[in-house]
Each structure stands twice: as structure tokens, then as C-alpha cells.
């Protein structure tokens, strides 16, 4: 068992002024995965991509209230974090196993609006994702290298256009661990996802927003620093063909140049699985 990060995304079709529950992308769910109740599950962040300004609302009986809960204005054409940092510091909302989140969006009456949530599991059975924290990166990081790929998104609101991390440039060193500290896009969408066997085949992700490249370029590193724990995904180049980058966006689709910022790590420096400690209410990710 071990840590996992999962970026779930979905869309509301023509929501207009009505707060409309989103349709979560195929293969994903707004129900929190079943975990050890003693270990933390966290909503690290959420963001939305609306062509027309609207609202994003996340509610559940297990959260603060089921009426308005975490409700935030979504400004038009800006997929930026709506809650919880992660610049400098952050506060994560605790989530609960099997809890079904209701994620609603309002926006334009003739468009597809999207939202994404980044969820962290301190200990998720059957996944054992590989993640490191900032001290491990500093101690074992060797070289900065960029993986640039081109993703052609689908127009259905699903995750799409997935390409392998080495699809454009196959320059990773064989059998070497790389930490993904963040990434950038040149085109606006909702979310950039990275899926790989090293992350338990779950999708890690960051906002697909070109105007906050200074934030997303080391998104996972900032999360790790903000929570003082391991949130930087690590993959081995042996798994490069199964490390897939894709994009979730609205009905306009688009072609995205995505740059993932990687740090080559010393061999054998990444623990097999980072597992969070038992969590009690009032604490934060560990």
C-alpha cells in the first residue's frame, strides 16, 4: 500500500445559470476511493475552465455543509486554482472513503464547462505510487530535463489525445528515475494529466493554464513544500511508453504543447512506496 494522487475531471454541458452536477470523465468517479479510514484522503486543489463565468460548487454531507459547501466563482477563460494554495502554503480539505462528492458547475448556456479536482491518498491499497518530497529531491536530484509532447485533445470533455512521454523526444536515460516537479502548457484547457504504472495507473495532473506557467511549472514541488510531504511523482524511464500525457478540455478541443519539468534522480534514491502516517482530524497531509 502507499500514496496516490488522482486528478479527476469532468464537464457540464450547457449549464447556463443552473448549478449542474458534472459528468465525470470515463473511468473516473466523484466517489472517493475506498481507503483505510485511519489514513488521510485530501482534496488538495480544484480548478475549472469556463468559457463563460460561472460557479463551481463541491458539496457532500461529510464536508462542511451540503448546501453550498466549497463554492467559488469561476472567471471566464482562466483555469486557475480556486482553493488551497499551493503557493507558499496551503490547506487541504479532508475527504472520506466512499464519500460521493457532488461537483457542480454553472457557466455558459451553449458550451461545455469543465472542472478538475486533485485528490491525494496517504495510503491507497493496490496502488503504491512512487512519490518523493522536497528534501529527497534536493538530496538526489541530478539534472533538470524537459519532456515536451504535443497533445491533440478531444472535444467531448473527456481526457483525450494521450501520448507517451517520449513521443516527441526520446531522450530519457535508460532505467533511470525521474521526478515530475511540474509542467506547462501553451494553450488553455482544463487539466493536463499524466498517467503511469509508477503512479499506480492513476492520473496526476495540474491546471492547463498558460497564464500561470510560473505556478504550474513546479506544481508538484510546490505541493510537496506546502504540505511538507511526498507529492512529486516519480517514474522510471523503463516505463516511459506507459507514461501517458493527456488533456481534458471543453468542446473547443485544441492542440497543446505540454512541457513536463523533470529532474533526473540518483539511482536507487526513491523509496518503493511512500505511505502517509495515520491521520486524525485537525491534521494535514503527512
Amino acid at each position: 500500500m502507499g500514496r496516490a494522487l488522482e486528478c479527476i475531471a469532468g464537464f457540464a454541458t450547457n449549464p447556463g445559470a443552473t448549478l449542474t452536477p458534472i459528468t465525470v470523465a470515463t473511468g473516473q468517479s466523484a466517489t472517493i476511493r475506498g481507503t483505510d479510514a485511519g489514513k488521510g484522503t485530501w482534496l488538495l486543489n480544484t480548478w475549472a475552465f469556463n468559457a463563460t463565468a460561472g460557479e463551481e460548487r463541491i458539496t457532500s454531507p461529510r464536508l462542511h455543509d451540503q448546501v453550498q459547501g466549497i463554492r467559488n466563482r469561476v472567471t471566464a477563460a482562466q483555469a486557475v486554482p480556486l482553493i488551497s494554495g499551493p503557493i507558499n502554503d496551503a490547506f487541504a480539505q479532508r475527504l472520506y472513503a466512499q464519500d460521493n462528492l457532488t461537483i457542480s458547475l454553472s457557466g455558459g448556456a451553449g458550451e461545455l464547462d469543465c472542472a478538475a479536482l486533485l485528490i491525494a491518498y496517504d495510503d491507497l491499497a493496490g496502488v503504491s505510487g512512487r512519490f518523493i518530497d522536497q528534501p529527497t529531491l534536493i538530496k538526489n536530484g541530478l539534472n533538470l530535463v524537459t519532456a515536451e509532447v504535443t497533445v491533440t485533445a478531444v472535444v467531448t470533455g473527456q481526457w483525450g489525445g494521450g501520448v507517451a512521454i517520449n513521443s516527441s523526444f526520446d531522450n530519457l536515460i535508460a532505467n533511470t528515475d525521474y521526478a515530475i516537479i511540474g509542467g506547462m502548457t501553451d494553450t488553455r484547457g482544463c487539466a493536463v494529466g499524466v498517467t503511469g504504472v509508477d503512479f499506480g495507473n492513476l492520473r496526476v495532473g495540474f491546471p492547463c493554464e498558460p497564464s500561470i506557467r510560473n505556478l504550474t511549472q513546479n506544481w508538484f514541488e510546490q505541493l510537496s513544500v506546502a504540505y511538507s510531504t511526498s507529492f512529486m511523482p516519480v517514474f522510471n524511464s523503463a516505463n516511459k511508453t506507459q507514461t501517458i500525457i493527456d488533456v481534458e478540455t471543453n468542446g473547443a478541443g485544441g492542440t497543446y504543447i505540454v512541457n513536463l519539468q523533470l529532474v533526473q534522480l540518483l539511482p536507487g534514491s526513491v523509496p518503493a512506496a511512500a505511505t502517509g502516517q495515520a491521520t486524525t482530524p485537525g491534521t494535514q497531509p503527512a
Binding site: G2, G27, S128, R130, A153, Q158, W159, S211, G253, A273
Partner: protein, 143 residues
């Protein structure tokens, strides 16, 4: 070599020994440096002064947009013609784009251990794509 004449104050400055408030130089100095409503943030004629024609004080700096060329596409700087052309190219590519296949969760540690074991068994440092996919399939995953 002619000596360099360096004035202590510019012409028209009140501190000059030959100061004459009625002189053209003094009037110009006063126009630039004295403001009836108090100290100016920028001298008269400064590109950022509010009373300089064509100043950029009301320019909106939208992310990714060159305010002097708002007709260009944000972030890429492409002309409308280029954007139109790329849209056509994208339309062709979009028709071929597919949703990303859904994968089952996998235990990363178990997979990587199996990978190393397979490499050891075959006596290689790295598996071929075929061997890799066979391993994934063996572990019940989509190749």
C-alpha cells in the same frame, strides 16, 4: 582642447545666477517642473505622465497578449490568418483524436519488482516493448 563648460543648474532654473522669471528658458523650466497642484509623479512630457499624449497609463496588460497588437493570438502571437490555417489543421487532427483508454489501477511497487525480476530472468537491463507489454498483460493490465 576646449574646456568643458558645465553649468551648475540648467538654463531657466531658479537657482541660476542669471535667473530671469520672464525668460523663455525659465518659463519652460517652470512648465516642466512646477505643477500648480503639487509635485508631479513624472515630469511633463514623460512617456508615463498622465498629460502626455499617447501615454500607456490606460493600457490593459492581458496575459499573453501584446497590447500593441491585440489582433494577434494570445500566447502564440500568431496572425489571424495563421490561426485560421492552424484551425483547419487541428480540425483534421481532432477527427482522429481519441479519448485516452481507461486503465485499471496497478500496484506500482509490484509492477516494478516484477519488471526487475523479468530483466534478471532474461539477463537484460531493459525489456523490449513486446516484453514490457507481455509483463503488463501478465499483471492483468491493459498493454
Amino acid at each position: 582642447m576646449a574646456a568643458i563648460v558645465e553649468d551648475d543648474y540648467p538654463k531657466g532654473h531658479p537657482a541660476r545666477c542669471d535667473y530671469d522669471p520672464a525668460s523663455p528658458e525659465a518659463r519652460e523650466w517652470a512648465r516642466i517642473n512646477i505643477h500648480p497642484r503639487g509635485e508631479r509623479d513624472f515630469p511633463v512630457g514623460h512617456p508615463k505622465a498622465v498629460d502626455t499624449p499617447g501615454n500607456t497609463n490606460t493600457t490593459v496588460w492581458v496575459a499573453g497578449v501584446d497590447p500593441k497588437h491585440t489582433e494577434l493570438e494570445a500566447f502564440s502571437g500568431r496572425t489571424p490568418a495563421q490561426v485560421e490555417g492552424l484551425r483547419a489543421v487541428y480540425a483534421e487532427r481532432a477527427a482522429l483524436a481519441q479519448p485516452t483508454p481507461v486503465r485499471k489501477p496497478i500496484d506500482a511497487h509490484a509492477f516494478n519488482s516484477a519488471y526487475q525480476a523479468k530483466c534478471g530472468q532474461l539477463g537484460v537491463c531493459e525489456l523490449s516493448i513486446q516484453q514490457y507489454n507481455e509483463l503488463l498483460t501478465t499483471l492483468g493490465q491493459q498493454a
